[in-house]
């Protein structure tokens, strides 16, 4: 870069398209936070690319005044991998939802995390299929009544962060649509991470699954049902920060304990076993963990691919060399 970047603002990141989510949708809050956050990365706007699959969340790229690609259902991680391999300089974001990312696109999610492709993956989890009018999703709680499960769904839900850790993900975090400050902080850390950053955003669908995360989002109850993880800090929560989490050494399970107890766990983002236990914590017995759950430094796929290209491209080659390589013979 031979010249200073022009100072960008939130306005530079809003496209000219009319936003068409339902009134009250959590996606509005996420969009606004990301639009505000983008200038803080101080990157050329033309290097930023948003790629999505299909679903309510996947309309997101249309509203960002960057490069954007609204692809096909579940395949955004694969398209993003191709973009990043073609041009590793680009800052590539994947926008997906619980159905897009973990039902039809589950395979790609597994592999993009395993390969550690350098992307930010924002999973908007509202535990429902919104765009197809309200069927249960792979994260819906068992018993969810929907048009396709009028007597209650019988599927067992998966926990996105747990699956992401199990897939070999190197940055796993959870945050909440309307909590702009927390969302921005978590996404910033994900952006700083070299490799695949998986961020689950609990997002409210006011039409088909309203209030599903109310306990952890409502100011009246949040303190008792949510714990904010901070690396190196004790895992404590509650209105008076009176409760903590400890490991029961007999059952090897997490349990509540008085915050003053000396065996309250200290959060260690690099501990995979702890991260897995924190990722699956939920009510009514335990709080939902938000923040950076797990982080690990590993080579990114694209860096390794570039390294191989550099090493095989040490000498200049020509088509003529290729065509005459190996065994040839002359006919006079």
């Amino acid at each position: 870069m031979n010249q200073a970047l022009p100072k960008l603002t939130v306005k530079d990141y809003a496209s000219n398209q009319e936003v068409r989510w339902c009134p009250g949708c959590g996606d509005y809050a996420i969009l606004k936070t990301i639009q505000k956050l983008m200038p803080t990365f101080e990157q050329p706007k033309e290097n930023q690319v948003f790629i999505s699959g299909i679903g309510c969340s996947s309309r997101f790229p249309y509203y960002m005044n960057t490069f954007g690609f609204h692809t096909i259902h579940g395949r955004a991680p694969a398209v993003a991998t191709g973009v990043k391999l073609a041009n590793p300089e680009l800052d590539v974001w994947v926008i997906t939802g619980d159905g897009d990312g973990f039902s039809i696109g589950g395979n790609h999610m597994l592999h993009v995390l395993r390969r550690n492709v350098d992307l930010q993956i924002l999973l908007f989890n509202n535990e429902i299929y919104g765009l197809t009018k309200g069927q249960y999703s792979p994260t819906s709680q068992t018993g969810t009544r929907t048009p396709s499960s009028p007597t209650g769904s019988i599927d067992l839900p998966l926990a996105p962060c747990e699956v992401a850790i199990g897939s070999g993900g190197t940055f796993i975090a959870r945050t909440i649509d309307t909590q702009a400050k927390h969302l921005a902080a978590v996404v910033t850390r994900g952006h700083d991470h070299r490799g695949a950053s998986f961020i689950e955003i609990l997002q409210n669908c006011p039409i088909y699954n309203d209030g599903i995360f109310e306990q952890v989002t409502d100011k009246k109850t949040a303190a008792d049902f949510k714990v904010e993880l901070v690396h190196g800090e004790p895992i404590i929560f509650g209105k008076e920060r009176e409760r903590g989490i400890r490991l029961n050494h007999d059952s090897l399970k997490l349990e509540l304990v008085d915050a003053s107890s000396d065996d309250v766990l200290v959060h260690d983002e690099t501990n995979k076993v702890l991260a897995t236990m924190l990722a699956i914590m939920k009510g009514p017995d335990l709080p939902v963990a938000v923040g950076v759950i797990y982080r690990e430094e590993k080579n990114s796929y694209v860096d390794d691919s570039q390294q191989q290209l550099i090493s095989v491209r040490k000498t200049k080659v020509s088509m003529a060399d290729l065509l005459t390589s190996g065994h040839t013979w002359e006919v006079e």
Binding site: Y62, F67, G68, F69, A80, M319, W329
Partner: protein, 628 residues
């Protein structure tokens, strides 16, 4: 349908000099028949014959020893004239066990030479091949020239000095056999010796044992008292254009054509694919050429492969993906996304026997309908097909040109036969190829992703990283004027028409259809596409030599069709269309042009024989009343 086949009656091992010969090596999949065949091919190319080869291997990687379904074979047709198929009937059959004999002997001509490893004709192996009686003893092979040798015994004696033990020593059986066949046709052993030394550079004992076996096989021919009628056969050199030659398989030609296309377009290429028989070798070959502006990606599945290729194209590289029929079916939603968003993409389909898993290692042309029509929505795309192994090079370059110039996915059809078959190729002078450099769009002023070239109708290609041309594209219908989402009815009509017109317009940018053999008008044209080229060419050549008014037309551009094709076809009284499917191209011709074209179909997993097409030509000419 059982095809009528004519015996070409061209083979005669009575003479010392023969104009052309078909040799087939057959043995267990662990017997090294492919290696034997490849070395014989190289020696034959060096000798100066024209040739064509056809490896024919089982789907099982290591089938049980001696089983009929584990027989691996390599066929080579070589001669003094132009050779475009791997041959119909066999003049020489080399069998390493009873299973190889029972599965191949029906193709050996009467009077043909049968070389048998009698040491492998044990009671156990005979049972596995379902022989009740030993065919070497019951007189059933009397119509052939049979050369029975206990090759195992010969080899063990030849390699005894290396103390390799029985198991390792016997492995050189294929080289002993190769030595004998090299002697039979007066070919040089030097190339094989050199390649053995390279292959076993770290195991000099193994290299030397194989060389000793090779030499022993050769010496056997020279010194043993052979039955009457078995001697060295001379095959005169072919008259070919001067130049530098090499052998090339369809897979390598296709891979190198993609590399060449990327050079001519001056663009990076990402090849994203998922392993599938018989297409995987393309990935294996391209990954070796990342010293060019090529990168490869082995994706988690077929869908990820096409999507990664599309992502690469969005980012300004050329995305290429490859598979065989079932994998192409999985990619179809992605291909339609490339069509909708007007991004370049090449999809290579190395067709195999279908439906479903079908015959993974066998050849077929049954994905033409899928290539032409197999997508949701009105989703036109150019479809082109290669006709010979070497032709894959030119067709791959053409795919790159069309995809980048017209901002469209392009389907390139190859097949299992072309992928594995090899032929000598006069190496082209690459400086004579016309470059077609890609121009990415960079003008920020008044930028819209919907700006198009008025002539080609191609949308602009503005890639991420370019300031001022940030834009969004996607699968939802896009406004003709702005490129933004549009649900407007009139706009959808306009965009659908535009996509059709863009692909149809490519007809003005491709060569007129030529007649590759024969006159431009006449009684009968045999019209083919893809790998049927070789057999049609030879059949038409023979029919013309009989004085019949027959021409050969081979169509490379299947969508859009060449703009003169209708007129050309209508200048013949009858049209015959041989295809390795149930009649997909013939239906296209009939529906497009209202021509009463007739089909010849074969779906046996094997290429057409010359005699099958010749028989159809004779039948057609006879039916139409008069010979010219």
């Amino acid at each position: 349908m059982e095809l009528v086949e004519e015996n070409l009656n061209e083979h005669h091992l009575d003479e010392k000099e023969v104009v052309d010969v078909v040799v087939r090596f057959a043995g267990d999949s662990g017997d090294g028949m492919q290696l034997t065949g490849n070395n014989f091919t190289e020696a034959t190319a060096l000798y100066g014959n024209d040739l064509s080869t056809f490896p024919d291997f089982p789907a099982e990687i290591r089938a049980p020893v001696g089983a009929t379904f584990g027989v691996s074979a390599f066929q080579i047709y070589f001669g003094a004239n132009d050779v475009t198929t791997a041959g119909d009937a066999l003049d020489v059959l080399v069998v390493m066990n009873p299973a190889a004999l029972i599965t191949n002997v029906d193709n050996l001509v009467d009077g043909g030479l049968l070389i048998v490893d009698s040491g492998a004709f044990t009671a156990k192996n005979l049972t596995k091949a379902k022989y009740q009686v030993n065919p070497l003893e019951d007189g059933s092979l009397d119509k052939f020239r049979v050369l029975e040798i206990d090759i195992t015994k010969q080899v063990l004696a030849a390699v005894a000095e290396f103390n390799l033990g029985h198991k390792t020593g016997v492995r050189s059986k294929n080289m002993w056999t190769l030595g004998l066949v090299l002697w039979l046709f007066d070919r040089d052993r030097a190339g094989t010796i050199k390649s053995l030394k390279t292959k076993f550079a770290s195991k000099p004992d193994i290299a030397n044992a194989n060389i000793a076996a090779l030499n022993a096989g050769h010496a056997y021919g020279e010194t043993a008292e052979l039955p009457a009628g078995i001697h060295v056969y001379k095959v005169p050199k072919a008259k070919v254009l001067p130049g530098t030659y090499r052998n090339i398989t369809g897979t390598n030609a296709l891979a190198w054509g993609l590399v060449a296309g990327s050079e001519l377009a001056n663009i990076d290429l990402l090849f994203a694919s998922y392993p599938i028989t018989p297409a995987s070798n393309l990935l294996h070959e391209l990954v070796r050429h990342r010293d060019f502006d090529i990168n490869t990606f082995q994706a988690e599945d077929e869908i990820a492969a096409v999507c990664a290729a599309i992502g690469a194209s969005f980012a300004g590289s050329l995305g290429v993906t490859s598979s065989a029929g079932p994998g192409i079916a999985l990619k179809s939603e992605g291909i339609a996304l490339a069509c909708a968003t007007e991004l370049p993409l090449i999809v290579v389909n190395t067709q195999r026997g279908g439906p479903s898993t079908g015959l993974p290692t066998k050849t077929e042309q049954s994905d033409l309908n899928m290539a032409l029509h197999g997508r949701h929505g009105d989703t036109p795309m150019p479809v082109i097909a290669s006709s010979t192994p070497a032709d894959c090079f030119d067709v791959a370059i053409e795919a790159v040109r069309l995809a980048t110039k017209y901002m469209t996915p392009v389907m390139l059809l190859s097949d299992g036969y072309l992928a594995n078959a090899a032929e000598p190729w006069k190496i082209p002078d690459f400086t004579e190829f016309e470059p077609f450099p890609v121009q990415h769009y960079t003008k920020a002023e008044d930028f819209k992703p919907s700006i198009r070239n008025e002539e080609t109708l191609a949308r602009v290609w503005a890639k991420p990283g370019t300031a001022g041309v940030e834009h969004r594209i996607g699968g939802i219908e896009r406004s003709f004027d702005t490129g933004d989402i549009s649900y407007d009815p009139a706009n959808h009509q306009k965009m659908t028409d535009l996509r059709q017109a863009k692909v149809a317009g490519i007809a003005n940018d491709i060569p007129l259809q030529e007649v590759c053999l024969g006159n431009k008008t006449g009684k009968l044209a045999v019209v083919g596409w893809g790998s049927t080229f070789g057999a049609i060419h030879q059949a038409v050549k023979r029919a013309r030599a009989e004085g019949l008014d027959v021409s050969h037309i081979q169509v490379r551009y299947l969508a859009p069709l060449p703009r003169n094709l209708e007129e050309l076809l209508k200048s013949f009284d009858s049209i015959l269309v041989p295809e390795m499917n149930t009649g997909q191209f013939v239906r296209l011709i009939r529906s497009e042009y209202l021509i009463d074209a007739e089909a010849i179909n074969k779906v046996a997993g094997q290429p057409f024989k010359i005699g099958e097409i010749l028989a159809a030509i004779h039948a057609k000419i006879a039916a139409s009343g008069s010979n010219s």
